[in-house]
Symmetry: C2
Subunit: 160 residues, 2 copies
């Protein structure tokens, strides 16, 4: 199955938009995500409609956060993306009259609903500020770790 990476990507972008540059064009963001500016606009468009980011056209234009990281949960972003399907497994509807199929699907649905509730609950709890704090922690730990292998020189290197 082909996975939807938009949630992950949007978290990535929004945190960069707070930590590294308050303003970035689709082009710059696309470079960061190693993708195409149109993909960036298309995906960020959903977040704009939800009031999470704002965009400006023309010279000096681009994208910026419309709220603080502490005011954006993963749930907000998931919703802004149109609540894409969470699961790669699902019910077959091969014979809608069959009562065996109904019983089977009911059992699977019940489990999926529980898992979905758990995920929505977790997503609603986690803010971008939480993830940014984890990033800050990694930033402090990383060079110490990396110097042992001789990979990094600058203490403030972030990776992208």
């Amino acid at each position: 199955m082909r996975q939807d990476h938009r949630l992950s990507r949007m978290l990535h972008v929004l945190i960069h938009l707070d930590r590294h540059r308050k303003h970035a064009t689709s082009e710059e963001i696309a470079e960061m995500l190693r993708t195409n500016p149109v993909v960036v606009r298309r995906t960020l468009a959903g977040l704009r409609k939800a009031g999470l980011v704002a965009s400006e056209k023309g010279h000096g234009g681009g994208w910026r956060l419309a709220r603080g990281l502490g005011e954006i949960t993963l749930r907000d972003i998931y919703t802004a993306l149109g609540e894409p399907p969470l699961f790669a497994i699902g019910n077959a509807q091969d014979n809608p009259v069959c009562l065996v199929e109904k019983a089977v699907n009911s059992a699977i649905d019940h489990t999926l609903e529980q898992a979905q509730a758990l995920m929505m609950d977790r997503f609603a709890t986690i803010t971008l500020a939480d993830i940014a704090a984890d990033f800050d922690k990694r930033l402090l730990d990383y060079p110490v770790e990396a110097r042992r292998f001789g990979h990094v020189r600058d203490h403030d290197k972030t990776g992208s």
Copy 2:
């Protein structure tokens, strides 16, 4: 995204294999699932390797259960299918050096792992016998319900 319906389909087949016919050819099963016999063989092959079903060639051959419904959990079937991906969302790996991406992916992974643990736990708890019991219950309730709408005449109609 395109969902994997094999788990649902296999539950469906195995319960029919207990409740309605102890023996069925790929052709007959394919008709029930409204699909192709080769798809049936391909999918049931995994269950055979796991010892859940047995197959016989030639005249009077076909598929049958190798264990009782009470000895088969949803988890067993999920495993027999090769543990296909559960989630339709996942982490982007656009810039493996970026510490922001690492922090983001760590947060998402953590949630997905919790959800996966919950699902595996539920699947391990539910046996095919449980679902078959639910089917039996629906079989009793269904005609009463349906007669109000004039859809069914026979009390023992199962649907497929």
